[in-house]
């Protein structure tokens, strides 16, 4: 489709979105009128209007609204030809109207039509960052780090310039030092949140006390960082907010024996940007888990054949599924049954009927916590890189992928030169600082598809898929030079710097993990032997 057609479609979506609130309001007025003074013709008009809303809202991307309009329409259809209306029917319709109106307001807040969603997406890819910070040393370091990750950042020290810049061009992200947050600054930042496209705000501070953190929250900050911490954490969070690839959709598997309910939940979660698959036969769950690989399971408790509780118990006994968060859904509001559900390995319990926003929030928060937990299990605690076991696992996976797609791959082993001397001379705290700095340099210079891990004490491993030996050598040299230029401070204020040596081996020169690692290790030995601070490649 050409851009002109897309433009026309977009314009329609925007127009529809603009008119929709009025339309919902009119429908409410129309119904109030009928409830007070019923006529069959008015009822038919109302039915037709709801029918129309059901069709058009779905076509324009308001799926939740369409589903709730459908429920109302089905009910209206049954009574639209009647010669009179009962009080009970009026009550029921009023209830359904309220529900529909509520759903409209909720869904139009969290997400409206596709065009607006796209605008938000492109905002996320906005690589412009404003930094409001008076500490020159910190801001220049931050700017350099962000620059190496492909972000343009502008540092502001004056609040006037800052507010002018915001008026002209909206950045993708604003980083503010909350130590300089005064009334003026607060007002500017709070106004930002009233815009159609909100800008993410991060706060940094030299103090971590509750007052400072509260100030950040009140300014609308999405994350808080201490200036004394490694920049790595901040830059990583920046990447999470700004890079599109990180916002990979959450995958949810729904098991519910009712088709219509399962579909209803899927629509709600899909509208919140998740990928959803549902099955109505609980016995299909293992297959679905394998095929769909969900990040979270939404289980109905009462199902024929096998209850949700039994299903959870089975899954919790299987180590490969033990980590998947399970959220139970049921009409059961008996506290004891709920406790039993949690005891059997559930993570949360939602009582039907669930409000759409509760469902989305519960699913999101459970999934988020699970992914944080699993990152602790696979990551080295000091550096945040993959740990030894995971490096090996990933190498295995990447290698089989390379052979399947007939592509290249490089494995790189890095060892910090004279690290023992650093530790002995300057102490372990400084040594740890060096290790963290190297992981920061690695993470900021590698591509998203590359993987870095801490292989041993001062040894690091890097997996470079789709990379030739020559490109790997070039990349390695660049990282090496960058790292060797980092200046470290000892506890008594002395400056020093450190270098590393690296060995590289390439697939398909070596075709299995064992040989690849062995060859990279040999190349590393050679690099050390030839005088350190260099990279070597091993050619069989």
């Amino acid at each position: 489709m050409d851009t002109k057609t897309q433009g026309k479609l977009d314009a329609l979506y925007v127009e529809y979105a603009r008119k929709l609130p009025d339309r919902i309001k009119q429908l409410n007025e129309q119904w109030c009128h009928i409830a007070g003074q019923w006529t069959q013709e008015a009822m038919q008009d109302f039915h037709r209007a709801i029918h129309g809303l059901c069709g058009s809202s779905g076509t324009y991307g308001y799926h939740e609204l369409s589903v709730s309009a459908r429920v109302l329409e089905v009910y209206l259809k049954k009574i639209v030809e009647d010669k009179k209306i009962t009080d009970e029917e009026i009550l029921k319709i009023t209830e359904l109207m309220d529900e529909m109106t509520k759903i409209f307001f909720i869904s139009s807040q969290s997400r409206s039509h596709p065009v607006v969603a796209n605008q938000i997406k492109s905002m996320k890819q906005n690589k412009l960052i404003y930094i409001f910070q008076k500490d020159k040393k910190y801001s220049s370091e931050l700017k350099k780090n962000l620059g190496s990750m492909g972000y343009d950042s502008i540092v502001f020290e004056d609040v006037l310039f800052f507010s002018e810049a915001i008026k002209k061009t909206l950045p993708g992200l604003i980083i503010v030092d909350s130590d300089y947050l005064d009334k003026n600054e607060m007002t500017i930042l709070q106004q930002l949140h009233q815009q159609d496209i909100p800008v993410t705000l991060f706060c940094i501070s030299s103090h971590g006390d509750l007052q400072t953190r509260l100030k950040a929250i009140r300014a609308g900050s999405a994350a808080f960082f201490l200036k004394s911490n490694e920049l790595y954490y901040l830059t990583k969070a920046v990447d999470q907010v700004c890079a599109s690839s990180v916002s990979e959709a959450l995958r949810v598997l729904i098991v519910d024996d009712s088709h219509s309910l399962a579909e209803y939940y899927s629509l709600i979660l899909q509208a919140a940007g998740m990928e959803v698959c549902y099955i109505t036969n609980p016995l299909d769950v293992l297959e679905a888990l394998n095929d769909f690989r969900p990040g979270l399971l939404l289980l109905d408790i009462y199902m024929p054949d096998c209850s949700g509780l039994e299903l959870a118990a089975v899954l919790r006994q299987e180590s490969s599924y033990a980590g998947i968060p399970i959220v139970f859904l049921s009409t059961e509001d008996d506290r004891f049954k709920q406790l039993a559900a949690l005891n059997l390995g559930g993570d949360d319990f939602l009582t039907k009927p669930v409000l759409p926003q509760h469902l989305v929030a519960a699913v999101r928060s459970r999934a988020k916590r699970a992914s944080v937990l699993s990152s602790y299990m696979t990551k080295d605690s000091l550096t945040g890189l993959l740990n030894h076991t995971n490096v090996l696992q990933h190498l295995e996976i990447e290698l089989s992928r390379a052979s399947r797609f007939d592509s290249t791959l490089c494995f790189m082993m890095i060892d910090i030169d004279h690290f023992k001397l650093v530790n002995d001379t300057y102490g372990h705290v400084t040594g740890d600082h060096v290790l963290r700095k190297l992981s920061e340099v690695l993470l900021t210079s590698l591509r998203k598809t590359d993987l870095a891990g801490r292989y041993g004490g001062e040894e690091f491993a890097v997996i470079l898929p789709n990379t030739t030996a020559e490109a790997a050598v070039e990349l390695c040299a660049r990282i090496r030079v960058q790292f060797s230029q980092c200046v470290f401070k000892t506890e008594d204020g002395q400056d020093f710097s450190v270098s590393f040596s690296a060995g590289i081996a390439a697939y398909p020169d070596f075709s299995d993990t064992k040989n690849l690692i062995k060859s990279a290790d040999r190349a590393l030995y050679q690099a050390k032997h030839e005088g350190r601070n260099r990279e070597k490649i091993f050619r069989g």
Partner: protein, 128 residues
């Protein structure tokens, strides 16, 4: 180029269908707001295919088609229904009216013309 006469009372749906049918699908389309307009427009426009919303005020889609099929000239004109409710018993009713397809609403504007084209390609099977 396939000429479609399209009856739909919802303005928003007509607007999006216009893009889906003309720009994406490349059809020539004339739009009507209800059954009566359709009856009046058909002789002059001479469509190859009718696209009828099921639920319209006044004369609905099925009634419109029934009326048209009474005329020998349009006895076999290919037609497609569009409806928000596809319940099995209704579907049977429509299929007995010898239509090419019943398209569910809401529809995906990107796919609408594809669906119509494949229904159009099937028209031989239905005895048209």
């Amino acid at each position: 180029m396939i000429k479609i006469l399209y009856a739909e009372d919802e303005e928003d749906i007509r607007a999006i269908a216009k893009i889906a049918l003309e720009e994406i699908g490349g059809f020539t389309v004339k739009y009507c707001q209800n059954g009566n307009e359709t009856l009046q427009a058909i002789d002059e426009f001479q469509p190859d295919l009718l696209l009828l919303d099921v639920m319209m005020p006044g004369m609905d889609g099925p009634a419109t088609l029934k009326k048209l099929r009474e005329k020998p000239k349009y006895k076999n004109i290919p037609a497609i229904f569009m409806t928000a409710k596809i319940q099995p018993n209704e579907l049977m009713q429509y299929q007995e009216m010898n239509v090419l397809d019943v398209i569910a609403k809401p529809f995906d504007p990107m796919k609408l013309s594809e669906i119509i084209r494949s229904a159009w390609d099937r028209r031989g099977d239905n005895g048209h």
